[in-house]
Amino acid sequence: MSPHLVSQLSVGGATLVLLAGLMMLWRRGVEAHIKAFTAQSVALAATTAMVGWFAGDWQLWAVAALLLLIKGIGIPILLQRMARRFGTERELEPYVNTATSLLVGGLLVLLAYVVTKPLVSVSQLPTRTGMPLAMGLVFVSLFVIISRKKALTQVLGFLMLENGIALLAVLGAHGIPIIVEIGVFLDVLLGFIVMQVFVYQIHETFESIDVEQLNRLRE
Protein backbone atom coordinates (compact mmCIF):
# COMPACT_ATOMS: atom_id res chain seq x y z
CA MET A 1 0.00 0.00 0.00
CA SER A 2 1.57 3.32 -1.06
CA PRO A 3 2.11 5.83 1.75
CA HIS A 4 -0.20 8.32 -0.04
CA LEU A 5 -3.05 5.80 -0.02
CA VAL A 6 -2.42 5.04 3.66
CA SER A 7 -2.52 8.71 4.60
CA GLN A 8 -5.74 9.10 2.62
CA LEU A 9 -7.30 6.07 4.31
CA SER A 10 -6.16 7.15 7.76
CA VAL A 11 -7.68 10.62 7.27
CA GLY A 12 -10.84 8.91 5.96
CA GLY A 13 -10.99 6.59 8.98
CA ALA A 14 -10.34 9.43 11.41
CA THR A 15 -13.06 11.50 9.70
CA LEU A 16 -15.59 8.66 10.09
CA VAL A 17 -14.71 8.30 13.77
CA LEU A 18 -15.04 12.08 14.29
CA LEU A 19 -18.34 12.18 12.39
CA ALA A 20 -19.77 9.53 14.73
CA GLY A 21 -18.70 11.73 17.60
CA LEU A 22 -20.44 14.74 16.06
CA MET A 23 -23.54 12.58 15.57
CA MET A 24 -23.69 12.43 19.36
CA LEU A 25 -23.97 16.22 19.40
CA TRP A 26 -26.61 16.30 16.68
CA ARG A 27 -29.05 13.56 17.64
CA ARG A 28 -31.03 13.64 20.87
CA GLY A 29 -32.25 10.06 21.46
CA VAL A 30 -30.05 7.73 23.59
CA GLU A 31 -30.53 4.87 21.11
CA ALA A 32 -29.05 7.08 18.38
CA HIS A 33 -26.11 7.83 20.67
CA ILE A 34 -25.48 4.12 21.24
CA LYS A 35 -25.65 3.43 17.50
CA ALA A 36 -23.18 6.26 16.91
CA PHE A 37 -20.80 4.84 19.52
CA THR A 38 -20.97 1.37 18.01
CA ALA A 39 -20.28 2.71 14.52
CA GLN A 40 -17.38 4.69 15.94
CA SER A 41 -15.84 1.67 17.60
CA VAL A 42 -16.15 -0.38 14.39
CA ALA A 43 -14.53 2.43 12.37
CA LEU A 44 -11.76 2.70 14.95
CA ALA A 45 -11.14 -1.05 14.79
CA ALA A 46 -11.04 -0.90 10.98
CA THR A 47 -8.54 1.97 11.03
CA THR A 48 -6.36 0.16 13.53
CA ALA A 49 -6.47 -2.98 11.37
CA MET A 50 -5.57 -0.92 8.27
CA VAL A 51 -2.60 0.64 10.05
CA GLY A 52 -1.64 -2.80 11.40
CA TRP A 53 -1.73 -4.25 7.89
CA PHE A 54 0.42 -1.37 6.61
CA ALA A 55 2.93 -1.56 9.49
CA GLY A 56 2.88 -5.41 9.41
CA ASP A 57 2.61 -5.36 13.23
CA TRP A 58 0.56 -8.32 14.63
CA GLN A 59 0.01 -6.47 17.91
CA LEU A 60 -2.22 -3.95 16.12
CA TRP A 61 -4.27 -6.78 14.66
CA ALA A 62 -4.82 -8.08 18.21
CA VAL A 63 -5.76 -4.60 19.42
CA ALA A 64 -8.19 -4.20 16.53
CA ALA A 65 -9.83 -7.54 17.36
CA LEU A 66 -10.01 -6.60 21.05
CA LEU A 67 -11.51 -3.22 20.14
CA LEU A 68 -14.13 -4.84 17.96
CA LEU A 69 -14.96 -7.43 20.60
CA ILE A 70 -15.25 -5.19 23.63
CA LYS A 71 -16.27 -1.83 22.28
CA GLY A 72 -17.93 -2.94 19.11
CA ILE A 73 -20.12 -5.65 20.63
CA GLY A 74 -19.74 -6.02 24.40
CA ILE A 75 -20.26 -2.55 25.72
CA PRO A 76 -23.13 -1.68 23.29
CA ILE A 77 -25.11 -4.68 24.57
CA LEU A 78 -24.66 -3.51 28.15
CA LEU A 79 -25.60 0.01 27.07
CA GLN A 80 -28.74 -1.28 25.36
CA ARG A 81 -29.81 -2.94 28.56
CA MET A 82 -29.16 0.22 30.57
CA ALA A 83 -30.96 2.31 27.96
CA ARG A 84 -34.01 0.06 28.08
CA ARG A 85 -34.17 0.48 31.84
CA PHE A 86 -33.37 4.21 32.22
CA GLY A 87 -33.34 5.75 28.80
CA THR A 88 -37.10 5.79 28.33
CA GLU A 89 -37.71 9.11 30.12
CA ARG A 90 -38.54 12.24 28.17
CA GLU A 91 -35.79 14.02 26.28
CA LEU A 92 -33.71 16.20 28.57
CA GLU A 93 -32.84 19.54 26.96
CA PRO A 94 -29.00 19.78 27.05
CA TYR A 95 -27.39 22.93 28.45
CA VAL A 96 -26.52 24.10 24.94
CA ASN A 97 -29.09 23.78 22.11
CA THR A 98 -28.21 21.54 19.21
CA ALA A 99 -27.35 24.19 16.60
CA THR A 100 -24.96 26.01 18.94
CA SER A 101 -23.39 22.79 20.17
CA LEU A 102 -22.71 21.77 16.57
CA LEU A 103 -21.04 25.12 15.89
CA VAL A 104 -19.00 24.75 19.08
CA GLY A 105 -18.05 21.23 17.89
CA GLY A 106 -16.84 22.74 14.61
CA LEU A 107 -14.79 25.38 16.40
CA LEU A 108 -13.28 22.68 18.65
CA VAL A 109 -12.20 20.76 15.54
CA LEU A 110 -10.54 23.91 14.18
CA LEU A 111 -8.86 24.44 17.56
CA ALA A 112 -7.66 20.83 17.52
CA TYR A 113 -6.28 21.38 14.03
CA VAL A 114 -4.31 24.42 15.18
CA VAL A 115 -3.08 22.62 18.32
CA THR A 116 -1.88 19.45 16.57
CA LYS A 117 -0.27 21.12 13.53
CA PRO A 118 3.18 21.17 15.24
CA LEU A 119 2.67 17.50 16.29
CA VAL A 120 1.92 16.55 12.68
CA SER A 121 5.04 18.24 11.36
CA VAL A 122 7.17 16.38 13.93
CA SER A 123 6.26 12.78 13.08
CA GLN A 124 7.20 11.25 9.69
CA LEU A 125 4.68 8.38 9.67
CA PRO A 126 2.28 8.54 6.71
CA THR A 127 -0.65 8.19 9.09
CA ARG A 128 0.16 11.48 10.83
CA THR A 129 -2.34 13.45 8.69
CA GLY A 130 -5.27 11.99 10.67
CA MET A 131 -4.03 13.20 14.06
CA PRO A 132 -5.79 16.62 14.10
CA LEU A 133 -9.11 14.86 13.57
CA ALA A 134 -8.38 12.43 16.44
CA MET A 135 -7.55 15.36 18.72
CA GLY A 136 -10.78 16.99 17.50
CA LEU A 137 -12.67 13.91 18.70
CA VAL A 138 -11.05 14.22 22.13
CA PHE A 139 -12.22 17.85 22.41
CA VAL A 140 -15.72 17.06 21.09
CA SER A 141 -16.21 14.21 23.56
CA LEU A 142 -15.07 16.45 26.42
CA PHE A 143 -17.69 18.97 25.26
CA VAL A 144 -20.33 16.20 25.21
CA ILE A 145 -19.52 15.28 28.80
CA ILE A 146 -19.83 18.92 29.88
CA SER A 147 -22.94 19.90 27.97
CA ARG A 148 -25.26 16.88 28.38
CA LYS A 149 -27.47 16.34 31.40
CA LYS A 150 -28.19 12.61 31.16
CA ALA A 151 -25.76 10.37 33.04
CA LEU A 152 -25.98 7.75 30.29
CA THR A 153 -24.91 10.26 27.66
CA GLN A 154 -22.01 11.31 29.84
CA VAL A 155 -20.88 7.70 30.08
CA LEU A 156 -20.96 7.51 26.30
CA GLY A 157 -18.98 10.77 26.18
CA PHE A 158 -16.29 9.21 28.36
CA LEU A 159 -16.11 6.11 26.16
CA MET A 160 -15.80 8.30 23.07
CA LEU A 161 -12.99 10.23 24.77
CA GLU A 162 -11.17 6.92 25.29
CA ASN A 163 -11.75 6.06 21.62
CA GLY A 164 -10.24 9.38 20.62
CA ILE A 165 -7.11 8.76 22.67
CA ALA A 166 -6.77 5.24 21.22
CA LEU A 167 -7.07 6.65 17.68
CA LEU A 168 -4.50 9.33 18.45
CA ALA A 169 -2.11 6.61 19.70
CA VAL A 170 -2.67 4.47 16.61
CA LEU A 171 -2.20 7.30 14.12
CA GLY A 172 0.57 9.03 16.01
CA ALA A 173 2.86 6.13 16.86
CA HIS A 174 1.37 3.02 15.21
CA GLY A 175 -0.14 1.93 18.52
CA ILE A 176 1.40 1.51 21.92
CA PRO A 177 2.88 -1.84 23.13
CA ILE A 178 0.28 -4.57 23.58
CA ILE A 179 0.71 -4.85 27.36
CA VAL A 180 -0.09 -1.19 27.86
CA GLU A 181 -3.01 -1.53 25.44
CA ILE A 182 -4.51 -4.42 27.38
CA GLY A 183 -4.01 -2.48 30.61
CA VAL A 184 -5.91 0.45 29.12
CA PHE A 185 -8.71 -1.86 28.04
CA LEU A 186 -9.07 -3.28 31.52
CA ASP A 187 -9.19 0.23 32.99
CA VAL A 188 -11.93 1.21 30.53
CA LEU A 189 -13.93 -1.91 31.30
CA LEU A 190 -13.58 -1.37 35.04
CA GLY A 191 -14.51 2.30 34.71
CA PHE A 192 -17.55 1.33 32.66
CA ILE A 193 -18.79 -1.16 35.23
CA VAL A 194 -18.34 1.37 38.04
CA MET A 195 -20.28 3.91 36.02
CA GLN A 196 -23.01 1.38 35.36
CA VAL A 197 -23.49 0.88 39.11
CA PHE A 198 -23.29 4.63 39.60
CA VAL A 199 -26.03 5.30 37.06
CA TYR A 200 -28.17 2.59 38.64
CA GLN A 201 -27.84 4.32 42.04
CA ILE A 202 -28.73 7.72 40.62
CA HIS A 203 -31.84 6.23 39.09
CA GLU A 204 -32.83 4.62 42.34
CA THR A 205 -32.54 7.80 44.43
CA PHE A 206 -33.87 10.40 41.96
CA GLU A 207 -36.21 8.42 39.75
CA SER A 208 -34.37 9.97 36.77
CA ILE A 209 -30.80 10.00 35.47
CA ASP A 210 -30.67 13.78 35.21
CA VAL A 211 -27.28 14.77 36.55
CA GLU A 212 -28.62 18.17 37.53
CA GLN A 213 -30.52 16.61 40.41
CA LEU A 214 -27.20 15.74 42.01
CA ASN A 215 -26.64 19.26 43.21
CA ARG A 216 -29.49 18.74 45.67
CA LEU A 217 -27.12 16.52 47.63
CA ARG A 218 -25.23 19.36 49.32
CA GLU A 219 -26.38 20.78 52.69
Binding site: V11, T15, L22, A99, L102, Y113, L133
Partner: protein
Amino acid sequence: MSPWLLGPVQASVALLLAPGLVGAVRWMKARLQNRRGSPPWQPYLELRKLFAKEVVVSNNASWLFRAAPFIVFGSTVAVTLLVPLLAVPLPFDGAGDLVVVVYLLLLGTFFLALAGLDPGSSFGGMGASREMTVAALAEPTMALAIFALAWGAGSTNLGQIAFRTLATPSEALAPGHLLAFAAIFVVTLAETGRLPVDNPATHLELTMIHEAMVLEYSGRYLALLEWAAALKLLIFFTLLGNLFVPWGVAVTLTPGALLWAVFTLALKLGALGGAVALVETHIAKLRLFRVPELLSASFILALLAVTASFLL
Protein backbone atom coordinates in the same frame (compact mmCIF):
# COMPACT_ATOMS: atom_id res chain seq x y z
CA MET B 1 -18.55 21.47 -33.21
CA SER B 2 -17.20 24.82 -32.00
CA PRO B 3 -17.12 25.34 -28.22
CA TRP B 4 -19.36 28.38 -28.56
CA LEU B 5 -22.12 26.16 -29.93
CA LEU B 6 -21.77 23.89 -26.87
CA GLY B 7 -23.40 26.56 -24.65
CA PRO B 8 -26.83 26.58 -26.35
CA VAL B 9 -26.65 22.78 -26.84
CA GLN B 10 -25.98 22.33 -23.14
CA ALA B 11 -28.80 24.72 -22.21
CA SER B 12 -31.33 22.93 -24.44
CA VAL B 13 -30.28 19.49 -23.12
CA ALA B 14 -30.75 20.79 -19.57
CA LEU B 15 -34.17 22.28 -20.46
CA LEU B 16 -35.29 18.97 -21.96
CA LEU B 17 -33.97 16.75 -19.17
CA ALA B 18 -35.17 18.86 -16.19
CA PRO B 19 -38.94 18.07 -16.21
CA GLY B 20 -38.09 14.41 -16.89
CA LEU B 21 -35.86 14.37 -13.81
CA VAL B 22 -38.66 15.73 -11.56
CA GLY B 23 -41.08 13.24 -13.15
CA ALA B 24 -38.64 10.38 -12.51
CA VAL B 25 -38.23 11.35 -8.84
CA ARG B 26 -42.05 11.52 -8.47
CA TRP B 27 -42.40 8.18 -10.24
CA MET B 28 -39.84 6.51 -7.97
CA LYS B 29 -41.54 7.94 -4.87
CA ALA B 30 -44.87 6.59 -6.11
CA ARG B 31 -43.36 3.14 -6.63
CA LEU B 32 -41.87 3.28 -3.13
CA GLN B 33 -45.39 4.04 -1.87
CA ASN B 34 -46.62 0.92 -3.62
CA ARG B 35 -48.75 2.75 -6.19
CA ARG B 36 -48.44 3.06 -9.96
CA GLY B 37 -48.15 6.85 -9.90
CA SER B 38 -47.97 9.12 -12.94
CA PRO B 39 -45.48 8.23 -15.71
CA PRO B 40 -42.03 9.94 -15.58
CA TRP B 41 -42.91 12.20 -18.55
CA GLN B 42 -45.94 13.65 -16.72
CA PRO B 43 -44.26 17.06 -16.07
CA TYR B 44 -43.94 17.63 -19.84
CA LEU B 45 -47.71 17.24 -20.18
CA GLU B 46 -48.29 19.57 -17.25
CA LEU B 47 -46.01 22.21 -18.79
CA ARG B 48 -47.83 21.91 -22.11
CA LYS B 49 -51.19 22.34 -20.32
CA LEU B 50 -49.97 25.30 -18.23
CA PHE B 51 -48.59 27.12 -21.29
CA ALA B 52 -52.03 26.90 -22.91
CA LYS B 53 -53.99 28.08 -19.89
CA GLU B 54 -55.19 31.60 -19.06
CA VAL B 55 -53.19 33.79 -16.70
CA VAL B 56 -55.01 35.30 -13.68
CA VAL B 57 -53.08 38.09 -11.93
CA SER B 58 -54.00 39.62 -8.56
CA ASN B 59 -55.14 43.24 -8.59
CA ASN B 60 -52.56 44.13 -5.90
CA ALA B 61 -49.67 42.81 -7.98
CA SER B 62 -47.28 45.23 -9.76
CA TRP B 63 -45.12 44.86 -12.89
CA LEU B 64 -42.58 42.98 -10.75
CA PHE B 65 -45.07 40.11 -10.39
CA ARG B 66 -45.09 39.65 -14.18
CA ALA B 67 -41.34 40.22 -14.65
CA ALA B 68 -40.13 37.90 -11.86
CA PRO B 69 -40.83 34.56 -13.64
CA PHE B 70 -38.66 35.62 -16.60
CA ILE B 71 -35.80 36.74 -14.30
CA VAL B 72 -35.98 33.53 -12.23
CA PHE B 73 -36.14 31.34 -15.38
CA GLY B 74 -33.44 33.38 -17.12
CA SER B 75 -30.97 33.27 -14.22
CA THR B 76 -31.44 29.50 -13.86
CA VAL B 77 -30.93 28.88 -17.58
CA ALA B 78 -27.85 31.14 -17.47
CA VAL B 79 -26.40 28.83 -14.83
CA THR B 80 -26.76 25.80 -17.13
CA LEU B 81 -24.26 27.51 -19.46
CA LEU B 82 -21.63 27.50 -16.69
CA VAL B 83 -22.18 24.02 -15.25
CA PRO B 84 -20.15 21.07 -16.73
CA LEU B 85 -23.28 19.27 -18.03
CA LEU B 86 -21.81 17.47 -21.06
CA ALA B 87 -18.25 18.49 -21.84
CA VAL B 88 -15.40 19.71 -19.68
CA PRO B 89 -13.71 22.41 -21.82
CA LEU B 90 -16.62 24.76 -21.14
CA PRO B 91 -16.91 27.66 -23.57
CA PHE B 92 -17.97 30.07 -20.82
CA ASP B 93 -15.47 28.78 -18.26
CA GLY B 94 -13.77 32.17 -18.31
CA ALA B 95 -17.05 33.95 -17.65
CA GLY B 96 -18.07 32.38 -14.39
CA ASP B 97 -16.97 30.00 -11.65
CA LEU B 98 -18.72 28.15 -8.84
CA VAL B 99 -19.25 31.39 -6.88
CA VAL B 100 -21.09 32.92 -9.87
CA VAL B 101 -23.30 29.80 -10.04
CA VAL B 102 -24.26 30.11 -6.36
CA TYR B 103 -25.00 33.84 -6.61
CA LEU B 104 -27.03 33.45 -9.85
CA LEU B 105 -29.23 30.92 -8.04
CA LEU B 106 -29.49 33.39 -5.13
CA LEU B 107 -30.64 36.06 -7.64
CA GLY B 108 -33.44 33.68 -8.71
CA THR B 109 -34.47 33.09 -5.09
CA PHE B 110 -34.33 36.88 -4.41
CA PHE B 111 -36.81 37.72 -7.17
CA LEU B 112 -39.03 34.71 -6.42
CA ALA B 113 -39.32 35.89 -2.80
CA LEU B 114 -40.18 39.43 -3.96
CA ALA B 115 -42.84 37.99 -6.30
CA GLY B 116 -44.21 36.02 -3.34
CA LEU B 117 -44.61 39.25 -1.35
CA ASP B 118 -46.16 41.24 -4.20
CA PRO B 119 -49.82 40.07 -4.22
CA GLY B 120 -50.04 40.82 -0.50
CA SER B 121 -51.37 37.46 0.70
CA SER B 122 -50.09 36.11 4.02
CA PHE B 123 -49.07 32.79 2.39
CA GLY B 124 -46.72 34.57 -0.03
CA GLY B 125 -45.17 36.53 2.84
CA MET B 126 -44.72 33.36 4.88
CA GLY B 127 -43.12 31.50 1.96
CA ALA B 128 -40.81 34.42 1.10
CA SER B 129 -39.64 34.86 4.70
CA ARG B 130 -38.88 31.16 5.17
CA GLU B 131 -37.26 30.73 1.74
CA MET B 132 -34.87 33.62 2.38
CA THR B 133 -34.08 32.28 5.86
CA VAL B 134 -33.17 28.84 4.50
CA ALA B 135 -31.22 30.36 1.56
CA ALA B 136 -29.25 32.63 3.93
CA LEU B 137 -28.36 29.75 6.27
CA ALA B 138 -27.26 27.55 3.34
CA GLU B 139 -24.77 30.16 2.06
CA PRO B 140 -21.86 29.47 4.48
CA THR B 141 -22.03 25.73 3.79
CA MET B 142 -21.89 26.35 0.03
CA ALA B 143 -18.95 28.76 0.49
CA LEU B 144 -16.85 26.28 2.47
CA ALA B 145 -17.85 23.30 0.29
CA ILE B 146 -16.84 25.30 -2.82
CA PHE B 147 -13.54 26.09 -1.20
CA ALA B 148 -12.86 22.47 -0.17
CA LEU B 149 -13.43 21.48 -3.84
CA ALA B 150 -11.46 24.37 -5.28
CA TRP B 151 -8.47 23.84 -2.98
CA GLY B 152 -7.94 20.32 -4.26
CA ALA B 153 -8.29 21.40 -7.89
CA GLY B 154 -6.32 24.62 -7.62
CA SER B 155 -9.16 26.72 -9.06
CA THR B 156 -12.81 27.56 -8.46
CA ASN B 157 -13.65 27.27 -12.18
CA LEU B 158 -15.94 24.29 -12.75
CA GLY B 159 -14.22 22.98 -15.85
CA GLN B 160 -10.90 22.99 -13.99
CA ILE B 161 -12.33 21.10 -10.98
CA ALA B 162 -13.94 18.40 -13.14
CA PHE B 163 -10.80 18.13 -15.28
CA ARG B 164 -8.57 17.79 -12.21
CA THR B 165 -10.70 14.99 -10.71
CA LEU B 166 -10.65 13.22 -14.10
CA ALA B 167 -6.88 13.50 -14.22
CA THR B 168 -6.21 12.11 -10.73
CA PRO B 169 -8.85 9.44 -9.91
CA SER B 170 -7.52 8.94 -6.36
CA GLU B 171 -8.56 12.54 -5.70
CA ALA B 172 -12.24 11.55 -5.97
CA LEU B 173 -12.04 9.31 -2.88
CA ALA B 174 -10.22 11.88 -0.74
CA PRO B 175 -12.16 12.46 2.51
CA GLY B 176 -12.31 16.18 1.68
CA HIS B 177 -14.28 15.37 -1.47
CA LEU B 178 -16.64 12.92 0.25
CA LEU B 179 -17.44 15.39 3.04
CA ALA B 180 -17.98 18.21 0.54
CA PHE B 181 -20.32 15.88 -1.40
CA ALA B 182 -22.35 15.17 1.77
CA ALA B 183 -22.48 18.90 2.64
CA ILE B 184 -23.68 19.91 -0.84
CA PHE B 185 -26.24 17.05 -0.84
CA VAL B 186 -27.82 18.47 2.34
CA VAL B 187 -27.80 21.96 0.80
CA THR B 188 -29.48 20.52 -2.33
CA LEU B 189 -32.32 19.16 -0.18
CA ALA B 190 -32.65 22.58 1.46
CA GLU B 191 -32.37 24.78 -1.65
CA THR B 192 -34.64 22.78 -3.99
CA GLY B 193 -37.33 22.34 -1.32
CA ARG B 194 -37.10 18.57 -0.98
CA LEU B 195 -38.46 16.67 1.94
CA PRO B 196 -36.59 17.10 5.17
CA VAL B 197 -36.83 20.91 4.73
CA ASP B 198 -39.97 21.50 2.66
CA ASN B 199 -42.54 19.02 1.29
CA PRO B 200 -42.99 19.49 -2.49
CA ALA B 201 -46.33 17.65 -2.51
CA THR B 202 -47.95 19.42 0.43
CA HIS B 203 -51.40 21.07 0.34
CA LEU B 204 -51.27 22.75 3.73
CA GLU B 205 -50.20 26.35 3.06
CA LEU B 206 -48.76 26.75 6.56
CA THR B 207 -46.06 24.14 5.95
CA MET B 208 -45.01 25.32 2.49
CA ILE B 209 -41.79 27.19 1.70
CA HIS B 210 -41.26 27.05 -2.07
CA GLU B 211 -44.86 26.32 -3.04
CA ALA B 212 -46.27 29.24 -0.97
CA MET B 213 -44.45 31.79 -3.13
CA VAL B 214 -45.95 30.48 -6.38
CA LEU B 215 -49.52 30.15 -5.01
CA GLU B 216 -50.57 33.28 -6.89
CA TYR B 217 -49.11 32.28 -10.27
CA SER B 218 -51.08 30.61 -13.05
CA GLY B 219 -50.79 29.80 -16.73
CA ARG B 220 -47.50 30.44 -18.50
CA TYR B 221 -45.91 32.22 -15.53
CA LEU B 222 -46.49 29.14 -13.36
CA ALA B 223 -45.07 26.96 -16.15
CA LEU B 224 -41.87 29.07 -16.21
CA LEU B 225 -41.49 28.87 -12.43
CA GLU B 226 -42.10 25.10 -12.33
CA TRP B 227 -39.55 24.65 -15.14
CA ALA B 228 -37.05 26.88 -13.33
CA ALA B 229 -37.47 24.82 -10.12
CA ALA B 230 -36.92 21.60 -12.10
CA LEU B 231 -33.83 23.17 -13.73
CA LYS B 232 -32.49 24.14 -10.30
CA LEU B 233 -32.82 20.51 -9.15
CA LEU B 234 -31.01 19.38 -12.33
CA ILE B 235 -28.23 21.92 -11.75
CA PHE B 236 -27.59 20.78 -8.17
CA PHE B 237 -27.59 17.14 -9.28
CA THR B 238 -25.15 17.97 -12.09
CA LEU B 239 -22.89 19.75 -9.60
CA LEU B 240 -23.05 16.68 -7.35
CA GLY B 241 -22.62 14.27 -10.27
CA ASN B 242 -20.15 15.85 -12.66
CA LEU B 243 -17.93 17.59 -10.12
CA PHE B 244 -17.44 14.66 -7.79
CA VAL B 245 -17.82 11.73 -10.19
CA PRO B 246 -16.86 13.31 -13.56
CA TRP B 247 -16.31 10.05 -15.46
CA GLY B 248 -18.32 10.01 -18.67
CA VAL B 249 -18.11 13.77 -19.23
CA ALA B 250 -16.87 14.38 -22.75
CA VAL B 251 -13.34 15.72 -22.99
CA THR B 252 -13.35 16.13 -26.79
CA LEU B 253 -16.27 17.83 -28.61
CA THR B 254 -17.00 14.92 -30.99
CA PRO B 255 -20.73 13.98 -31.37
CA GLY B 256 -19.96 10.42 -30.15
CA ALA B 257 -18.43 11.67 -26.91
CA LEU B 258 -21.33 14.07 -26.41
CA LEU B 259 -23.95 11.34 -26.83
CA TRP B 260 -22.05 9.19 -24.34
CA ALA B 261 -21.95 12.20 -22.00
CA VAL B 262 -25.73 12.64 -22.22
CA PHE B 263 -26.21 8.94 -21.46
CA THR B 264 -23.91 8.97 -18.40
CA LEU B 265 -25.53 12.24 -17.25
CA ALA B 266 -28.98 10.63 -17.42
CA LEU B 267 -27.59 7.67 -15.47
CA LYS B 268 -26.14 9.90 -12.73
CA LEU B 269 -29.35 11.97 -12.52
CA GLY B 270 -31.35 8.73 -12.16
CA ALA B 271 -29.07 7.52 -9.37
CA LEU B 272 -29.22 10.82 -7.47
CA GLY B 273 -32.99 11.01 -8.07
CA GLY B 274 -33.32 7.53 -6.60
CA ALA B 275 -31.28 8.61 -3.58
CA VAL B 276 -33.56 11.63 -3.01
CA ALA B 277 -36.68 9.43 -3.43
CA LEU B 278 -35.30 7.01 -0.83
CA VAL B 279 -34.46 9.86 1.55
CA GLU B 280 -37.96 11.30 1.12
CA THR B 281 -39.62 7.94 1.82
CA HIS B 282 -37.64 7.41 5.00
CA ILE B 283 -37.60 10.85 6.61
CA ALA B 284 -40.52 12.99 7.78
CA LYS B 285 -40.49 16.78 7.34
CA LEU B 286 -38.40 18.63 9.94
CA ARG B 287 -40.09 21.35 12.00
CA LEU B 288 -39.00 24.72 10.57
CA PHE B 289 -36.85 25.55 13.60
CA ARG B 290 -35.04 22.19 13.43
CA VAL B 291 -33.90 23.09 9.89
CA PRO B 292 -31.10 25.38 11.20
CA GLU B 293 -29.77 22.35 13.09
CA LEU B 294 -29.67 20.37 9.84
CA LEU B 295 -27.93 23.26 8.10
CA SER B 296 -25.40 23.71 10.91
CA ALA B 297 -24.68 19.98 10.69
CA SER B 298 -23.98 20.44 6.96
CA PHE B 299 -21.82 23.47 7.85
CA ILE B 300 -19.75 21.22 10.13
CA LEU B 301 -19.44 18.71 7.29
CA ALA B 302 -18.15 21.48 5.03
CA LEU B 303 -15.78 22.70 7.77
CA LEU B 304 -14.38 19.15 8.12
CA ALA B 305 -14.11 18.98 4.33
CA VAL B 306 -11.94 22.12 4.33
CA THR B 307 -9.69 20.92 7.17
CA ALA B 308 -9.42 17.43 5.62
CA SER B 309 -8.75 18.83 2.14
CA PHE B 310 -5.63 20.76 3.05
CA LEU B 311 -4.35 18.17 5.52
CA LEU B 312 -3.30 15.94 2.64
